[in-house]
Symmetry: C2
Subunit: 357 residues, 2 copies
């Protein structure tokens, strides 16, 4: 299969933020909420999580206009124990709900050393790494997980779409800024598949299999017939399942067959569950000792001998950091097909198009 | 390669417990501590974690006699914040230290909703699932991780043994007892490789690669030249790394190049780090609703349509539960080579051999 040539154009970061904020406000969000979501979505683009940034704007706008998101949510934080809280998102956009949960986790962990904040009645919140990273700015470990907003995986051995790519993100401070692991429990996230579809690129074998035959699927246009494969076979399936129990069932939120596929349904409440854990590092070791030790060990791993053919050793978060530096300077690269979609959304909402900003 | 025939003999569960307890006591542990370790080691055998049960007895005895373990540890629990504690294991056997940490986590979580208990100056504690399961008996979620007691993995792209198989175990209650995910961050644990070596069985490709060539190793006798492969490539490597940071560096315990290979060194203090998290379910949803929802969804997954050739859908902990039922009745199957080793240890310590009990 030949990959068609894909043309990209760079957009200024402030223009992307402003486009998102204007579109979301035009679709009914308060200016403050629109600005908060715009910052988080653009941060996803900056850090290379292209499937979770401005790419999602057309879908979010469609859902806001269709009434699938509550445009004026009243998000509540119920402190259920000294170190726990349960956030009710009132069906608001996930970015707003999880940001509120992370802020609560940081406040609580400052008092109690650790906080576990569950979320119910939320929605798709984009890039997992964003929320794990928030506690890091306060000298804390951040952990985030979620029930994915569509089921693209089966339980190991099964063929029905009953599990999500349920992500896990873990972030810790280092001398050079946050080190962030942000992984789906599948080989790739469905966002990556959508990115390949938008760009018309074939996918490697091993990402998706056909639900009926079990054979590999490499054409992203056929992804609707496929199952995403978990990392480590039954292990990744089990990890996705357990993260789904913790982020979903534990919070009284949706799991399994009760999950709404928000790619196919713009109106039903998804009752998405998420969780944020914050751990105050200084309750275990002094923060400066922690970062010095992490730095020492990471430098050792980076400098260690490499397998044949490997040019450099990459650690979790390296790509995020490099991408952020490069894109903040050079702008965010957007494929032509996405720009067409964004212009269409802007026109529908009567908002200034991206490249006229 | 032909696998040699392996002969097994079943040992009564109470005989295994008594053999372990007598050997550990003869090697210098108090009767109470010897009994506590014997219960946990036998539980590993009962639940099918064969690489972590009585199989480890010869090594543990050797280490106790060589002074690598503190035979009379004074384990301390420092409550560093309302919801956190740091346990100093005083270089005692890991089973004793982590059991104490899990008990502390349960006590704290009852007050604060969640507890995060870190461990330093501990040792190899055997099967991860054991410790995640302890909070479940109190209506809690249990999570356990550890820095593995030897480095059998490289960072992704590297070839030096600087990372461990750092396990993650997550356990939740269901109507039918605990559901336990217990996974190494590698495709298999080194315990599994050792079990194959003891039985003289060839391993499938994909478990280990040669450090110098990157080619697969299938002969377990050559495992010393190999690297265990992480689940999901760079993802499993990143997960192992982050779990090591949380279980090791955060607790001021060993990580990376500072880890002591306890298979090769019987005397140096390992400074093993571990962590236990307990979450009180009732702070989020009523416990009976939680178990009912887990049961409903697990039944749905189990009954879901299967891929061609799959006979039954297995969920995390199924094998543990079945194994436990079967072995409690029929006894614990031990390969002939292990029985020879156990008889030798018993003779050295002047303790009644297993099959004379």
């Amino acid at each position: 299969m030949n990959a068609p040539a894909v043309s990209f154009r760079r957009a200024r970061v402030d223009a992307v933020v402003a486009l998102i904020a204007d579109c979301l406000a035009a679709a009914g969000l308060s200016r403050d909420n629109a600005a908060a979501v715009a910052e988080l979505m653009t941060e996803a683009d900056l850090t290379g999580a292209d499937g979770h940034g401005v790419f999602r704007l057309p879908q979010y706008v469609r859902r806001l206009r269709a009434g699938g998101f509550n445009r004026t949510p009243s998000i509540t934080v119920d402190r259920t124990a000294p170190a726990t809280a349960l956030v009710d998102g009132d069906n608001g956009m996930g970015h707003l709900v999880v940001k509120r949960a992370a802020e609560a986790a940081i406040d609580i962990a400052r008092e109690t050393g650790v906080a576990w904040v569950g979320v119910r009645r939320s929605n798709h919140a984009g890039s997992a790494g964003l929320y794990a990273e928030l506690p890091v700015r306060h000298g804390m470990v951040g952990i985030y997980s979620a029930v994915a907003s569509a089921n693209h995986m089966a339980v190991w051995g099964g063929k029905e779409l009953l599990l999500g790519t349920n992500p896990l993100a873990i972030a810790v401070p280092t001398g050079a800024g946050p080190m962030v692991l942000d992984m789906a429990t599948t080989i790739v996230s469905y966002g990556t598949v959508k990115k390949y579809a938008l760009q018309g690129l074939p996918m490697p074998e091993g990402w998706l299999i056909d639900r009926d035959t079990g054979e590999p699927i490499t054409d992203p246009a056929r992804s609707g017939q496929g199952l995403l494969l978990p990392i480590g076979g039954y292990k990744g399936s089990g990890l996705s399942l357990m993260l789904g129990v913790l982020a979903g069932i534990l919070n009284g939120a949706a799991f399994g067959r009760d999950c709404v596929d928000f790619n196919a349904d713009d109106t039903s409440e998804t009752d998405t569950g998420q969780l944020v854990i914050a751990v105050d590092i200084a309750r275990f070791v002094p923060l400066d000792r922690f970062t010095a030790e992490v730095d020492r060990h990471m430098a050792d791993l980076r400098a260690s001998a490499r397998l044949p053919g490997v040019e450099a050793i990459r650690l979790p978060g390296d790509r995020r950091r490099e991408c952020r530096t490069e894109r903040r300077e050079a702008g965010i690269p957007l494929p032509a097909a996405l720009i067409v979609q964004l212009d269409k959304v802007a026109a529908e909402l009567g908002v200034t198009p991206l490249f006229e900003r």
